[in-house]
Assembly symmetry: D2
Homo-oligomer: 420 residues x 4
Amino acid sequence: MTIDLEALYIDLHRHPELSFQETRTAGIVTQHLTDLGIEFEEGIGKTGVAAVIRNPSTGSGTDRPVVWLRADMDALPVEERTGLEYASTARGVDASGTDVPVMHACGHDMHVTAMLGALERLVATKDEWAGTVVAVFQPAEEHGAGAQSMIADGVLDRFPKPDIVLGQHITPLPAGTIGVRPGTQMAASDGLTVTLFGRGGHGSRPHSTIDPVVMAAATVMRLQTIVSREIDPRDVAVVTVGSIHAGLKNNIIPAEATLELSLRYPDDAARERVLEKVERIVRAEAAASGAEVPPTIVTDHTLPPTINDPVATTRLTHAFNGAFGEGTVVDPGMFTGSEDVSWFAREAGVPLVYWFWGGIDPEKFAEAKASGTLESAIPTNHSPFFAPVLHPTIERGVDALVVAAREFLGAPEGEPAEAK
Amino acid sequence: MTIDLEALYIDLHRHPELSFQETRTAGIVTQHLTDLGIEFEEGIGKTGVAAVIRNPSTGSGTDRPVVWLRADMDALPVEERTGLEYASTARGVDASGTDVPVMHACGHDMHVTAMLGALERLVATKDEWAGTVVAVFQPAEEHGAGAQSMIADGVLDRFPKPDIVLGQHITPLPAGTIGVRPGTQMAASDGLTVTLFGRGGHGSRPHSTIDPVVMAAATVMRLQTIVSREIDPRDVAVVTVGSIHAGLKNNIIPAEATLELSLRYPDDAARERVLEKVERIVRAEAAASGAEVPPTIVTDHTLPPTINDPVATTRLTHAFNGAFGEGTVVDPGMFTGSEDVSWFAREAGVPLVYWFWGGIDPEKFAEAKASGTLESAIPTNHSPFFAPVLHPTIERGVDALVVAAREFLGAPEGEPAEAK
Amino acid sequence: MTIDLEALYIDLHRHPELSFQETRTAGIVTQHLTDLGIEFEEGIGKTGVAAVIRNPSTGSGTDRPVVWLRADMDALPVEERTGLEYASTARGVDASGTDVPVMHACGHDMHVTAMLGALERLVATKDEWAGTVVAVFQPAEEHGAGAQSMIADGVLDRFPKPDIVLGQHITPLPAGTIGVRPGTQMAASDGLTVTLFGRGGHGSRPHSTIDPVVMAAATVMRLQTIVSREIDPRDVAVVTVGSIHAGLKNNIIPAEATLELSLRYPDDAARERVLEKVERIVRAEAAASGAEVPPTIVTDHTLPPTINDPVATTRLTHAFNGAFGEGTVVDPGMFTGSEDVSWFAREAGVPLVYWFWGGIDPEKFAEAKASGTLESAIPTNHSPFFAPVLHPTIERGVDALVVAAREFLGAPEGEPAEAK
Amino acid sequence: MTIDLEALYIDLHRHPELSFQETRTAGIVTQHLTDLGIEFEEGIGKTGVAAVIRNPSTGSGTDRPVVWLRADMDALPVEERTGLEYASTARGVDASGTDVPVMHACGHDMHVTAMLGALERLVATKDEWAGTVVAVFQPAEEHGAGAQSMIADGVLDRFPKPDIVLGQHITPLPAGTIGVRPGTQMAASDGLTVTLFGRGGHGSRPHSTIDPVVMAAATVMRLQTIVSREIDPRDVAVVTVGSIHAGLKNNIIPAEATLELSLRYPDDAARERVLEKVERIVRAEAAASGAEVPPTIVTDHTLPPTINDPVATTRLTHAFNGAFGEGTVVDPGMFTGSEDVSWFAREAGVPLVYWFWGGIDPEKFAEAKASGTLESAIPTNHSPFFAPVLHPTIERGVDALVVAAREFLGAPEGEPAEAK
C-alpha cells in the first residue's frame, strides 16, 4: 500500500474544517492509520487523534527513546481566492454560529499529508530504527486551544511520554528549504475580545446616542500607538485588531462594538506590559466617548512562546543539512506567529524542536526577492491567496519528519546508537 | 365589532417582521379589513396592502376628495431591552442572510394599530363624511424602499388617486401632543455601503498585509470632520456610520472592511456636497493605507426630504388644536430622520402632511425635561429601550388620523362643505 | 475740513496693530477728533478712546437720548496675502512675546474709518438732530477683552450713559447690503488654552517618553466628535482648535503640547454642555496616553451672545431700508462669530443693535453665488486674503452709522420728535 | 598643569550653546589646548576646532598610525528640569529666530570634558606611545550637519588623515560600564520638515476654511501606522513627529501647519521604504482634507548608519575589558539614535569605532532595573532631567579615550608594536 499524497492533500484542501470540527479530516486520518496497521485513539480533546508505532512492537511499548511528532488539522474562516482548480468553496459555522467561508489558508492540510506520508515511511523502515513514535493529529491550533484540550483529555497519560516533541509548519520559504533556529522561534500571543458599550439610537440623532462605532474607530487608531510609541523599536511586538463588528443597518446607531485583538511578544514580561497598555487605552477611549458602561476585555487564549531547545536544534540542523545538502537550513528569525505545540513539551518537561519548511516555487521566490516584492508577491499563511506548490513541498515535508524522528530515535538492535 | 387595539398592538409588538417580510402583519391587517368590510388588495410592492372606503359606496368610486392615509409596517434588527412583559424575543434573517434579533423599535406597530382603529371609526361614522379614503399599509419603510416598491407595483393606478396624502409617526413627545410644521419636516437621506479593500494575511505579520481594520477606523475618524469642519454650523447635516464590519478572527487580518453610512441633509444641494466629501475622504483614506484596489461606494437608498404643504399644514394644525385643545400642536423643528412617505405625494403631484404624535408618559417627560436629561432618559426611536406608553398613545393616534382625514374629506350630502 | 476717508483707510490698513497695542491708530483717531473739535479721552482700558458730541452743547451734557456708537481698532496676527498695493507687511510682538505678522484681516480699519466719517457728518449736521453721541474706539476686540477693559476703566461713568448701543461690522456681503436680525445675532464664545503634559526624550527612543504630539493629535481628532456626534444636528456649535504647538526639533520628543480652542454656541446652556465635553475628552485622551500629569484647561476669555433688541432692530431695519432702498437689509442668520460689544449694553442695561455691512464687489459676489463658490471664492474675515472693496463700502459704513444714530437721537428743538 | 575636569564640566553645563553657535565652548577648548601646548585650528566648519599631537613631534608630522578622536560640542533647545545646583538657565535663538531654552541634554559637555582630559593625559604620557592623535571638537551634531561642515571646510586635508576614527557618547548605562558592538551601532536617520497647506479663516466659520490643524492631527495619527502595521515587527524603525506647529490664536484657523519628523532605520533599503510611506500618507491625508495645494516634504538632514568595524571593535573590547576589568563592556544592542561621526571615517575610507559609556549611578540603575522601571526612572539623553553623575563618569570617559587611542597608536621607538 502507498498513500497517494498529492490526491490526499487535494482532498483535504477541498474539504477544510474549522477548529474542533475536524471530523472528516480525523476520519481520513484514522482510515489511513488503520490501513497502515498503526494503533490509535480518536476523539481526544474533542476531535484529536493520536497514534503510536512501537518498534519493536514486542517491547514494553514504551521503549526509549519516545519521539512525538505533531501535526495540526484545522482550517480558517477565510474565503479562498487562489483560483486553483482544487480551491476550497467550503463554508462552515463558526463558534458564534455565523456562517463563514472556510479554507486551509494556514497549510494544515499539508501538515496532515506530510505526517501520514512520514508514518507510512517509518512503518516501512522499521528495521532501520528502534524506539517509539507517537503521532499527534491535533485539532484547533488556530483557536490556540487544541493542544491543551488534548492534554486535558489525557493524551500524555494515554500514550508513551515523549523524550522530545517535534513539529513542523509550512511557510513562505522556497520549497526545499528548512528554517529553524535555537531559542525563541515563535512569539507568545494572546487573543482578546474587547466589547465597547455605547448607547444605541436612530442614525439621524447621534446626539441622543453614545456612538460605539466612533468609539471603536478611535480605539483602533489609539492602539496603533502602543507599537509605534511605547515599545522599544528594537523589541518585537504586534497589536493586531483582526476583527471589528458593530451595527446591523446604516440608520441605526448600535449599542455595542466588538474588537478582536491578537497580541504578540517574545516573553512574559513584554506580555504584561502590552496587556496593561491595551487595557489603559481601551478604558480611556471609552471614557473619551462618555461611555456609561465600562468596556470588557476577555482573554480568549494565551499561547506561550515557542522555544526551540538549543542542543536538539543544533543536532537537527546538522541532520537536515546532512540529508538534504548543506545550506538547506536557514535561520528564519523569530516568527511573530504563535503556536500551541509547545504545551506538549512544557507539560512533559522535555525539549521541543519546531521548524518551518518552504512551500514556494523557488524560482518565483528568487524573482520576488530580486525585485524586492517578497512581501507583496508571495502570499503568506492566512492569506486567501496562500497556495504552496505541491512538489517538492509534500516530499520535503515527509522527508523532514522522517529525518527528524530518526535523528532522535534509536538504532535497531545490534547497531551502535552512538553512531548518531 | 370593535377591535381590541391594545391587544392588537401587543400582538404586533411581540411579532415584529423585517422589511419586505411583513407577511404576518399584513395577514392581521387583511383579516381586520375583511371583518370591517373594507375592500383591499394585498401583495402590492411585495408585502404591502391598500384598502379603500368609498362613501357613498354607490358613487363612481373615486368621489372627490380622495384622502390617502399611510401606515408603515416593518420592524428593525434591534434586540429589545425594554424589559416589558410583551417585549419582542423575535429573530429574523436579514437581506444578507444573517440571523438577527427583531424589534418594533421604531413604533410601526403603533402606526398599524392606529390606522386600523381609524378605519373602524371612519366606517362607523360614514354618515358624517363623504369622499374616498385610501389606507396604505406600506412595507419596508426602514429600507427606504417600500413606497417606491408599491408605486412601481401600480398602487397609484389601482386605487383612486389622492388629493392629499396624510401620515403620522410615533415620537418621543409627551403622549397627547402632536408635532408638525410647515415646510421641511424631515431630512433627505442617503444610505451608502462603502467597501474598503486591503490585503489579508496573518495577524502576526501586519507588514505583509494592507490592514482594512485600520483603514476603516481612520476613515470613520476622518468622516467626523465633514460635520465638524466642512458644514456651516448653522446647517443641518448628519454623517452616521451605522455599521462597521471586518474580519472573522483575531489572528487573521481580513482583506476587506465594510461601512454602512446614513447621511442626512435638508435639500439636494447639501446632498451633493456631502456625498462629494464622503467620496473624497473614503478614497483618500484608502490611498493613505496604500490600498491596491480603490474602495467602492454604493448608494443603497435615497430618501427625499419630507416637505409639509404649508397651506394644508396650517389647516390641519387648527383642526388638531380644535379637536384636542389649544396647545396640542407644537413645532417639533425639522427632524433629521427621513421617510419615504413623500414618494406617494410627489408621484401624484399632490400635497403631503406628515405629523408626529407623542408616546411618552407626560409626567416622565416633564421630569426629564426639568432635570435636563431628555436625551438620556427618554429612549428614542430605534433604541432597544424604545417603549411608548399604551394610553393615551393609541387613542390619540386613532383620533389624529380620523380628525385629519375628516378635515380633508367632504361633508355628507346636504351639508355645506364650505363649513370647513 | 473733510477727512480723506480712502487715504485714512489705506493708511490704517498698512499699519495694523495687535490687541492692546493700538497706539498709532488711537493717535490718528485723536488727531481727527481734535481737528473736528470733538471732546475725547484717551488711554481708556489701556489704548481705548471715547469721544462725545453734546448737541446742543450748552445743555447739561447728558441730554437724552444718548446714543453710543462703537468701533473696534485692533488687527490680527495674520500674514496678508491679498497682493493689494496697500497690503500690510507689518509685524508685531504678540502677548507671548513671539514676533508675528500683523494684518487688518477682520476689517477693523474699515470700522475706524467709517466711525470718523460718521462723526464728521454728525458734527456737520448738528442742526438736524439733538441729543448726545458717544463714540467708543475700542481696543482688543480680538482678544475678547477690550470692552471689559474700557468698562473696568470707568468708561460708563466718565461719559453720558447710553440709552442704546449701536455697532457695525464689515462682512462678506455684497457692498451696499446690510445684514441684521432681531434676537441672537452672534454666538457666545469661549477661548481655552489646553496644555497636555507628556514626558520628553530623544526622538529615537519614543518608548522612554510619553509623546505629547500624539496625545495632541488624538485629542484634536476626538474633539471633532463633539460637533459630529454629540450636538443636535439642528443646533449651532463650533469647536475649533485654532493653534497647536509642541516641540522645537525633529529629534526631541517634547514634554508638552498646547492647544488653543475657540468654542461657539447660541446660549449658556449649550456652553456648559460643550465645555463639559471638551474637558471629558481632553482628560480621557491624556489618560489614553498614560500621562502622569493631568492636562490643564484655562479659559482665556468668555464672550456673551450678541443679542439684538427686537424692537430697536425692527425700527432700524425700516430706517435702513428707507434710507438705502427696500431690500437693502437682509437677514444674515445667526453668525457663529462672537463680539464683546454687548458688554457695554449689558453693563448699562440698555438695548443693543449690531449689524453687518457688506464689503464685497456685488458683481463678484453674484458670480460666486451663481457658481456655488461663495465659500471658496470670497475670502472671509480673518483670511489672509480678506480685502473689502473701498467703494461703496466706506460710504455705506459712514451712512449706516449716521442713519442709525439719527434714528435714535432726538429732533432738533422745535421739531416734533415723534415724526420718527 | 592639571585641568580641573569637574569644574570644567560644570562650567560647560551651565553655558550650553546651540548648534553652530558653540563659540564660548570652542574658546574654552582652545584656551586649554593652548595651555597644553597642543597645535590647533579653530573656526573649521563654522565653529569647529581640530587639534593635533605629533609624537614624536620631530617626525613628518603624519607618522602612522594616525588616530582621530572626536567630541561634539553643541547643546539642545531643552529647558533643564534636573533641579541640579549647576542646572542651565541659558536661552538661545534657534535657526528659525525663535528664543528657546538651552541645555546640554545630550551630554556633549561630558564629551568635551573627557576629550580635554584625555589630551592632557596623552601629552603627559608621550614617552609611552608613538604616532599622531587628531582631536576633533565638532559643532552641530544635533543638526546632523557639523561633521559634513568640517569636512567641507577641509578638515581631512588640513590635518593628518586618519587610520581609524574613534568616538564616544555618554549614555544611561551604569557609570563604569562601556557599551559597544560590532556592526550597526546606531541607526540611520532622516530629519524631515512637512508643511501642510490648508486655507485660513475665522475660527467660527470652519466650513469656509480647510483646517490645517485637523489635517496635521490626522496625519500624525496615520503616521503611527507605518511602524505599527507596515514594518516587520522584527525590524527597527522609528517615525517620530518631534514638533507640530500651526496657528497663532484660538479664533483664527491658520493656513498652514508644520510637522518636523525624525525617522530611524538600520539601512538604506529600509530608509527608502519608510520615506515612501511617509510621503504616501502625508499626501493622502492632505487629499482627505481637500487641500488645494499639495504638502511639501523637505529633507533637513540625512545621517548614515553608524557601523562599527568588526575587527577594530573586537580589539577595542578586549582592550577595555583588560583595562577596566572583564565584564566592563556590554553589548548595548543597536541604538535607534543617530550620529554624524561616521562621515569622517566614510570620507576617509577608514574604520570607525564608536562606543557608549555609562553615566548613571550604578546603585540607582540596579534598583530601577530590579523594579522594572528603567525606562521611567532613568532620564535618557534629550530629556530635561538628563543628569549624569560626575564621578566616575568623567574619569571613565577620559580613561576610555586614552585606552582606545593607545590601542591603535604605535609603541614608542624601540618597543615592539606587535605586543598589541
